[in-house]
């Protein structure tokens, strides 16, 4: 149940991995789509936290091209519905996430990423 809402907030937390450690790259992602309740107020409040480019790129890698490259200024209903789908309805169930900086691989099993670090990676 890693959704892109959480993936977009997640950087690598291995020791001394502080730059270029976001976004984690999905590999062999298996998706499940589950409908969630549409909450435009939540989405509007959440927008400022989003790293837009990372979200659009990741969504495209997972096969969803509904989001524009530039974050629009007008938040019409169609845009919010697409954003809702990308953030909250696409679940990555299997696969892994790789840190672009240190290369640490976080495996995902049954929708749960394993974030445990090895001894030498603990900060």
């Amino acid at each position: 149940m890693v959704r892109l809402i959480t993936h977009n907030l997640l950087a690598c937390h291995a020791k001394d991995c502080n730059t270029n450690n976001f976004p984690l790259a999905f590999k062999d992602a298996q998706l499940e789509i589950r409908e969630a309740e549409f909450n435009p107020e939540f989405l509007k409040g959440f927008l400022p936290k989003i790293e837009w480019t990372a979200l659009v790129d990741t969504a495209r890698q997972l096969g969803d091209t509904s989001l524009p490259l530039e974050q629009p200024e007008m938040l019409d209903d169609e845009f919010l519905k697409n954003l809702h789908h990308v953030l909250l309805e696409i679940h990555v169930e299997e696969g892994s996430m790789t840190c672009p900086n240190c290369g640490h691989v976080y495996p995902i099993s049954n929708g749960i990423p394993n974030m445990l670090l090895a001894e030498h990676e603990i900060g």
Binding site: A11, H13, F22, G45, L116
Partner: protein
């Protein structure tokens, strides 16, 4: 029996058997629910405003189910695979992570509007884990520093825990302050042996304008019991109405997969007789 955190590492203590027992025990459900409601009260989030919350040590989702009901979006982390497996079975809506909070978080600055933790951080003081680890003060420092940065400014984190001495409270609050948090300890029912509860109520930012909440006095109110009963009634009603809304039927999933294939997505799972079935977790 000595306290759980003195008996074994958390992911061992909360193995399959204990995780099941813990989650099914109605008395325990009530206690955890009460403390979750109280933690939400202490968070004092603006009413009717959606929020993204971190549930630290979310376990099998007893606290997360209440976040779902209250309409919050959340993510939860826990070190015990067996507890997370039950959370999956119970179909909580939050994103779950297998994570040792003593190793710190990697969330980007300002990710969460609030954090709660119910009956967890005493584990950071007492037990080692079977994963690589370091000393308790170092683990606490890593935990509080990365939590502080993961929270929005201004915001709060409310952590209910079971300290076994005043020294422990002292150690925890000192490290939290060093990590940048304001706030402190709130004790509910300090004179009741049974009902006494300790909440670490932490503030991010706010320039000292955040008011320290008051602990509850006297005897435990019957109020909370009533609240819990009402909730169980709602649960029952929900169960009667069949599937929860987020569980998609097979047709719907097939339709979505088709759409994904059309969009040129690789690796869309093949349709099988398992499509749309509830999954069982295997770690």
């Amino acid at each position: 029996m000595s306290r759980p955190e003195l008996q074994a590492p958390p992911e061992i203590y909360y193995g399959d058997t204990e995780a099941k027992k813990y989650t099914q025990n109605t008395r325990n459900q009530q206690i955890q629910a009460d403390m979750t409601y109280r933690a939400l009260e202490l968070l004092a989030l603006p009413p009717d405003q959606p929020a993204y919350i971190l549930d630290i040590g979310c376990g099998s989702g007893l606290s997360g189910e209440i976040l779902d009901e209250e309409g919050y979006i959340w993510a939860g982390v826990d070190i015990a695979p067996s507890m997370l497996e039950i959370a999956l079975e119970r179909e909580v809506e939050g994103d779950l992570f297998l994570q040792d909070i003593g190793q710190g978080f990697g969330f980007r600055p300002g990710s969460f509007d609030a954090a709660i933790s119910i009956s967890v951080i005493q584990w950071l003081l007492n037990a080692e884990t079977s994963h690589p680890t370091s000393s308790p003060p170092h683990r606490l420092q890593r935990f509080f520093t990365t939590l502080h940065s993961a929270l929005r400014n201004p915001s709060r984190a409310v952590l209910q825990f079971y300290p076994s001495s005043d020294d422990q409270i002292q150690l925890i609050t000192t490290i939290a302050q060093k990590a940048g948090f304001g706030g402190g300890i709130v004790v509910d029912y300090p004179n009741s042996k049974k009902a006494k509860k300790v909440f670490l109520c932490l503030f991010v930012g706010g320039g000292g304008a955040q008011q320290m909440p008051q602990g509850l006095e006297g005897e435990e109110e019957d109020d909370s019991k009533a609240r819990f009963e009402r909730r169980r009634e709602r649960e029952k009603a929900k169960a009667k109405h069949g599937k929860r809304k987020n569980i998609k039927d097979r047709d719907w999933i097939l339709k979505k997969k088709e759409l994904y294939r059309k969009r040129g997505k690789e690796g869309v799972p093949k349709d099988s007789k398992y499509t749309g079935r509830k999954r069982k977790a295997v770690f």
